[in-house]
Subunit: 359 residues, 2 copies
């Protein structure tokens, strides 16, 4: 396969790590990056080191949320916001890079260059759950032919993307959704583990995340997780102040256990034909006061073999592998798989399990 | 993706199970099958139940080996041979099916129909290690455009296939090699597990097979495994009589442990860019006197994450899943992945790990 040029929307934790990762992978060249402050494009390849230095400290914060609420809809906001963003003179975030220009229209600027971009990793926060689908709309309206990848977790976003299938097909977009750790890595593993069986009875996805030192970089993720707690949903979690989030964490002594999460894993496994959505359970433990994982991330797939035996295949991630590693490696792997589909003329919406071998 | 029509060369254990499996999978239609006795073709789909009943007892035996040595090169021989094959009047093997014709040229007969066949599973024994490559040659000479899949284990076959890459590309053949349990299922799992890491240090593949009731159906596999024992190689294992094999098994009390096997897993992981071949170890335990697995099949992938941690991700198959289940499910999964590549115009030789998402 030929080399892949890609762009990153957002330079928070995930976007920055994608840039960093690309320097470790052959055949993957970052050619564009943006946040709400600026856009950097170089079709020969960005200077990642310089860009990472310039955008250091792009982390989620209340300031970003406030600015969103003040009506800056449709702007590409990073995981991070104005308060934390490193400034270089008057310029903030990506705009502080010598490779970048300040802009009011960063996504449009990326779209303007998109004919030479094979894939776009959308690493923007999605607190309004239609935000990423609306970003995709803009690419479709511009007749983008290429791959869009998100690392979201929520089933309802996938439904929204599905509604856009026809537009994606007309444009030539292969949208790979939920391509991070979970769904993503873990649903891919479930799809693979399912190959021993002719009938899958049960998929259990159980994750552990220790997020002490990574907490500042991953506030968006924590907020998303809180939306899965009893008494909260996406809307109420979005409206929480940082102080309220801290209070919730305090109430749980820093260690929050989640059961029966409404993660998209179930929908994504069903659409790939692995099992019924109702046979999938997702849960896990988040510890924001330790870097040690509170529990070992495990995928268990129970099924019946063609010869009538029932068994459980398992996939386990070492506790030493960080959430960040398990999001970004798979995201880029799925990005590549998406580019292959795109070049083969397969357009529409694909989940990670759809990109695995298997029936 | 559109439905897939496929053919099976050979109706020993693997071929028969592939036919059986196809009745449990949507979008997969068996349209042709052959052994050295006969060929059955129905482009609307074979009657699998009837064909399986007719070919019951097609198992590897000395008789087949003897007939090979007597010069019937290039004939598609099943895993089984004349002695064990069920007879229906004068007709043997596939030829005993009401859907089949007796033939002296079964592979040519399949090739003659191959324009309407998306994929061919080559489930023939490969005791001469160039046998399957030579079968592939015949498809290439006939300008077959489609997928060929084998479930072999040996590195040297892959080298031979690689030498044919140009011929495959000219013809339009996507050859998926080593697509059974190991390599295959387990190298695919290793490729997936590697996604946490930017650098893989070590892949350990360790398998357990309990083959008491499945022994008769899998003599070819046992013979192949013996070739990996100290003091044996492919040639000497091929020349062993059934009685000599029994004696070797007896010497080991029915339970043979293999270390540092020359399995193709290493080559296949290296070609997919996962790690160096020398960092891959394959071993396992075969127990032909118990259906219980003597050890749990486990893939361990140790690597370094982008953030500098070293960890080991693991994939384990439940002891209750049989070798047969773990060969045939993945083989058909990889067959489908191969068809997708083929339809996208990607020709040549692919290992299982090449078909996984990832860089």
């Amino acid at each position: 396969m030929e080399d892949i040029n890609f762009a990153v929307l957002g330079t928070g934790g995930i976007g920055r790590r994608a840039l960093e990762y690309s320097t470790r992978k052959d055949g993957l060249t970052p050619v564009a990056a943006c946040d709400r402050h600026g856009v950097a494009v170089d079709h020969d390849g960005l200077d990642v080191e310089e860009l990472l230095a310039a955008t250091e400290g792009n982390i989620a914060s209340e300031a970003r949320r406030a600015s969103t609420e003040s009506g800056e809809q449709g702007e590409p906001r990073t995981d991070g916001g104005a308060v934390a963003v490193k400034q270089s003179g008057e310029r903030k975030g990506v705009a502080a890079s010598v490779q970048a220009d300040s802009t009011e229209t960063p996504i449009d600027d990326i779209i303007a260059e998109s004919e030479a971009i094979d894939a776009v990793l959308i690493a923007l926060p999605n607190l309004e759950h239609d935000f990423i689908p609306r970003v995709a709309d803009r690419f479709a309206e511009a007749d983008y032919e290429g791959v869009l990848v998100d690392v979201l977790k929520r089933s309802r976003v996938i439904d929204m993307l599905d509604e856009r299938t026809e537009a994606f097909e007309e444009s030539g977009i292969t949208f790979v959704c939920g391509a991070g750790a979970t769904p993503g890595f873990l649903t891919g593993a479930a799809a693979l583990a399912a190959q021993s069986f002719v009938e899958v009875e049960d998929v259990e996805i159980w994750w552990g995340v220790g997020l002490k030192s990574g907490y500042e970089d991953n506030r968006g993720t924590v907020r998303e997780d809180i939306a899965h707690l009893d008494g909260y949903d996406i809307e109420t979690a979005r409206d929480l102040s940082d102080a309220e989030i801290e209070a919730i964490i305090e109430d749980h002594d820093g260690r929050i256990e989640f059961e029966d999460m409404e993660h998209a894993d179930d929908v994504l496994l069903e659409r790939a034909g692995i099992c019924d959505a109702e046979d999938v359970t997702v849960g896990g433990i988040l510890d924001v006061r330790s870097d040690e994982k509170p529990t070992t991330t495990t995928v268990s797939v129970t099924g019946r073999t063609f010869d009538g035996e029932v068994g459980t295949n398992t996939f386990q991630l070492d506790d030493a592998t960080s959430m960040e590693a398990n999001v970004n490696g798979p995201a880029l792997g799925y990005l590549k798989a998406g580019v292959r589909r795109n070049r083969a003329g397969e357009y529409g919406v694909f989940g990670p399990a759809d990109l695995m071998p298997g029936f």
